[in-house]
Symmetry: C2
Subunit: 299 residues, 2 copies
């Protein structure tokens, strides 16, 4: 069975006449008859009812005609679509966001991108840790990651977009909540809520480093995988958490955010797999560079 069979069948069905159909197909009538017979034999159904004077469609033929037309149209469209994908005009792009960027950035970017590139289908995932993002880039689960530096992976290309200063999330009843700003040293002895250390969270490492510089070892009371959970834990008064400033977008009753003086900032970057730079991905990267250009803005 080949597309030829379908094209020939459609022609004969539309003309209801082998001779005219053959003419339309720029071929002689006998081979056309042969091909139609072959088709009928292959699917095991009589599609045309022929007398020596008249050709008409059987019920099965009528239904098959519709299908055949659809299939031929689909074949054409598939080619055209592939061409559009090739130019990046259409495409599918999946973006994975680091946990702390899930609340301030994901909604804004999702809206912007869908608006600016309506022909591209987007898929957004939030609350990913950087190592998971790297793995996902490798597997092809995501095409682009909005992530934290550093990333040491040969095939993942990274571009730093902005610096995000760190803030501390405090229960509103906490004594430090009364201050305008908090020094990292003030947090000595406080119960810390952190990301899980075994997954090598960049933020987690940054917090450890900052604490060490301030001369103490943070006391960890809980390790959570998601930023929202972290903030909820703070709201519940279980402890404090150090997060990038953009997490302030996640306003919750019972939680206040205070600037951390003397703490280093963390980098927000975009990353992609060097071998998965499809045209659509390229266009999205362009837009992301523009959208994420403002330094250290909350959104």
């Amino acid at each position: 069975m080949e597309l030829r069979h379908l094209r020939y069948f459609v022609a004969v069905a539309e003309e209801c006449h082998f001779g005219r159909a053959a003419e339309r197909l720029h071929m002689a009538q006998p081979p056309l008859s042969q091909q139609i017979r072959q088709l009928e034999k292959e699917i095991g159904v009589e599609l045309l009812h022929r007398t020596t004077r008249k050709v008409s469609l059987t019920a099965a033929g009528e239904r098959y005609l519709e299908r055949a037309r659809n299939i031929l149209r689909a074949v054409e469209q598939a080619g055209e679509e592939a061409a559009r994908v090739d130019t990046g005009e259409v495409g599918r792009v999946s973006i994975g966001f680091i946990g702390s960027a899930t609340y301030a950035l994901l909604p804004v970017l999702a809206r912007e991108l869908r608006e600016q590139l309506p022909e591209i289908e987007f898929e957004f995932t939030g609350e990913m840790l950087t190592p998971a993002q790297v793995a996902a880039l490798h597997e092809g689960t995501i095409d682009i990651a909005v992530m934290r530096t550093p990333v040491q992976d040969e095939s993942v290309e990274v571009e730093v977009m902005r610096q995000e200063s760190l803030v501390v999330a405090l229960p509103e009843t906490h004594p430090l909540a009364a201050k305008e700003a908090v020094r990292f040293a003030d947090l000595k002895g406080e119960p810390f809520i952190t990301y899980p250390s075994e997954h090598r969270s960049v933020l987690h490492d940054a917090v450890l480093a900052a604490a060490q510089r301030a001369g103490f070892q943070p006391r960890r009371v809980a390790q959570v995988a998601e930023t929202s959970t972290m903030v909820v834990f703070v709201a519940a008064g279980l402890g404090v958490a150090v997060v990038p400033r953009s997490v302030e977008a996640l306003q919750l009753a019972g939680v206040v955010f205070r600037p951390l003086v003397g703490a280093e900032s963390v980098e927000l970057a975009i990353g992609w797999h060097s071998e998965r730079r499809t045209p659509a991905v390229e266009r999205v990267l362009e837009r992301l560079r523009v959208s994420l250009a403002e330094p250290d803005a909350p959104a």
Copy 2:
């Protein structure tokens, strides 16, 4: 472009390896490479990214793969479906109802048929006059007609199902409404609402004949194309109408139906085009014969 190209492409895309794909396709690797090149050239897009060591899909190729799979599945299904149409297992059947059967029969039969033959798609049309039904059978607009005899058309086969006695529809304020039954002669001088005579309504002819036997010429005050309109006109007190008993199903405030004694009955029949007896139509005819077997029942 042939289906072969799609099959080959799917194989290569799935294996990401020309050699293995060729093996799977029971062919050698070089011609496979050729065919894929040919495909790419035809749609003008690079579908596969090859190095001498690795084959991978481009973005366009990935999309094309999905489409190709769908197309191949569609081709298979089209054949299977045609086979099912051939055995009457599935199909589409359009049934046209004569006006006076629209209200009592159409809803009942529609429900029954859909229930008994769920694999068949039905289309029902009501309020057709017999000549229009014959024309529709010829054009193929309908496959089966629930109609009135007689039909004099060579290619339309007719089977009488039941006799329907005639009743008269009267405004409820009409003096005759007080009687249990009405003789046709009682209607002498009454204003009649009829179907349009120029369309050769069978019922119209039957009424004229009955009137002639009763010794008068009916006075026609209105001609309507639809039975529902006819009954509405009677309800409005514009006149009386003679209709088959099954129209009683169309209950309307202000209208009463009374049996007509001494009036002949009309025949309800099913008709179909002798050259459009598809397997599905055949199966529907079977069911109709059973459903319409009860003589002169209102439904």
